[in-house]
Symmetry: C2
Subunit: 337 residues, 2 copies
DNA sequence: GCTTTCTGCTTAATCACTTAAGTTGAGTAA
DNA sequence: TTACTCAACTTAAGTGATTAAGCAGAAAGC
């Protein structure tokens, strides 16, 4: 059950391995007749190139890396990542490129993983998600010459392509909507404060609050879990000037809020409006169903993968913006009491 | 920014590349002094072996493949896979082994992916999840000589290690519990009927129903989605001899059932008891919270990964059973009306 | 003193493939 | 006829490791 090599094809076709290589790679130097013969034999014996041998001669390894720096239980609960991965995969597998996945506990481990993958020539490039503030990874990639696509805001002065969504605009849309229906005390339950997009959203939220001259606009940071979402909600709802609307940075926490409101006998949406920062069936399934910011995450992943392929094949490095999340009003939001 | 090779180390140390190889691999043939010198230089210049070159000489490539044959939206919604992957990863990354992930739409694509990965020498072995009935993959692997770990029941006559949980026992536990609290009409909303573990569970369910002499024990198959779960529930709840308890093959559908019951003004748990086949925060978050079969999925993934590593390093192929899921009674189940 | 046995290396082949450079033979131009 | 060009190959070097085989020098055994 030995794997066939180009030498086997060469023997069968009665030519040299060099000729086989040219034929299989669609390069000039072999006659159409010979080429057809070689291709036919290759197909017949089920030949596939050894990426090991190919990458040894400096070619691409046809693999890209994705590192997730989040704890297992958070990853499991949030539909985002799996959908994102599905999107990435749809493009990669269509281009015969493998996805190397690593789940690591922290930032240092993430850096380490990238270094190792690159040093071992395992990947052609890496997808950088969950950028945190002052993240050194873009610089690390630039410095090591590793092709990378940033999933998030483009970095000034670095030649890495970014695929980003306008989080600030999405936050604005939510606040505008809530203000329009009469809310003046709006709170924000944010995700990990170290993440860049959390900071962008929080800044946008505060700017919007100022612009509208809101009575109060507290922000509480969490780790995206149900527990911390519930805890933050409890704190907000038992405070002196309790908000009439709360926005959450994901779906899990918004749903947790529903529980807490129920527990405190605060009616949603009559006394409290709730908005989720991610949409999923989780939001639909609730009573009341949860108003959410929706976006096509599978498509997001696909665009990121395409940007990666473009980068390694043509060196294109343009930033690309995905459509801004749209607000899907459901039963959890209503006019302020 | 060229990557250092053993030739660089050899030059610096004033020895041959052969000596460097022996030193770096901890093999005899170099003096302790030379070995230390070589290791020091390797560490200093940040040398890492090129897996391409290594695998060319027949060594392991230190990567394993995982293929998920489910649609993107199902993957996104079910916490199972991401948690499973996290568990797999925790063991693999500790052993400096990469995880190659591919998401494919159907069975043929899954076979194809395995073949390609193997032919391209990208992987040392493959994790086989979601075994369907009469699945050809174990035979395919055996035939191609690909090391594989089966996530599911061991196959007769094949030398592939399996890591499995006793699904039948878990189903028995659920039925016993429901019967104990007085239910005589119990329905089962199953997952994909083509999956082996669905068939095992359905068989166990029907056997348990016979054993207890239940009045009715209908089974409806679905694709695990919220929609089909809701639809199946609607059918059951509007049928002539409506069940007093329904068990679901995952958490998403059990939660969907809650919605349907609400919509039909059927009170849970007073008029209807609901049990979820997977546990997650989704179950906890509901009103009422959902009774569920809980198991440690991260640990499951970790055991599978360990079995894979054992297989490729020592050729060990024992089947291993993970703890049976335990029933966690919550507010969605109560005595039969 | 001579052979044998180690130790600690080096040398060179090998893995599967790419590719620059060389070769061959046919066709074309002068 | 001779020189030249070109297509269609072949040859061989290189890629970064591993590893069997070889070899020099020192120590040990007789």
């Amino acid at each position: 059950m030995k794997r066939p090599t180009i030498a086997d094809i060469a023997t069968r076709a009665g030519v040299s391995t060099g000729a086989v290589s040219y034929a299989l790679n669609g390069r000039p130097g072999v006659s159409p007749a010979t080429r057809d013969k070689i291709l036919a034999i290759a197909a017949e014996i089920g030949w596939r190139p050894s990426i090991a041998a190919r990458s040894l001669t400096g070619a691409r390894v046809h693999a890209v890396g994705l590192i997730l720096a989040r704890p297992a239980r958070v990853l499991g609960m949030e539909p985002f990542f799996m959908q994102f991965i599905s999107g990435v995969e749809s493009v990669l597998s269509a281009n015969r490129t493998a996805l190397l996945l690593q789940v690591v506990p922290d930032h240092d481990a993430a850096d380490e993983a990238v270094r190792f993958w690159w040093a071992e020539r395992r990947i052609d490039g890496v997808l950088v998600t969950d950028l945190w503030a002052h993240d050194q990874r873009p610089e690390l990639l630039a410095q090591l010459g590793i092709p990378g696509v940033i999933v998030g805001s483009p970095r000034e002065g670095l030649d890495l392509p970014a695929v980003w969504s306008d989080d600030a605009a999405a936050v604005d849309a939510v606040v505008d909507y809530l203000v329009t229906i009469g809310h003046r005390r709006i709170a924000r339950v944010a995700g990990l404060p170290s993440l860049e997009h959390t900071q962008i959203r929080t800044a946008a939220f505060q700017a919007a609050a100022d612009r509208h001259g809101l009575e109060s606009a507290p922000v509480i940071s969490t780790d995206y879990t149900w527990e911390e979402g519930a805890q933050a909600t409890r704190r907000l709802l038992t405070s002196a000037d309790r908000p009439t609307a709360i926005t959450y940075d994901n779906d899990v926490m918004a749903v947790a809020a529903l529980s807490v409101a129920h527990e405190l006998a605060i009616s949603v949406p009559d006394q409290l409006s709730i908005v989720a920062g991610d949409d999923s069936q989780l939001c639909l399934v609730q009573h009341p169903s949860v108003t959410a910011l929706a976006r096509d995450i599978v498509d997001y992943g696909a665009r990121v993968a395409q940007a990666m392929l473009d980068l390694v094949s043509d060196g294109r490095t343009e930033a690309q913006q995905v459509p801004t999340a749209t607000l899907v009003p459901r039963a959890s939001t209503a006019a302020a009491p």
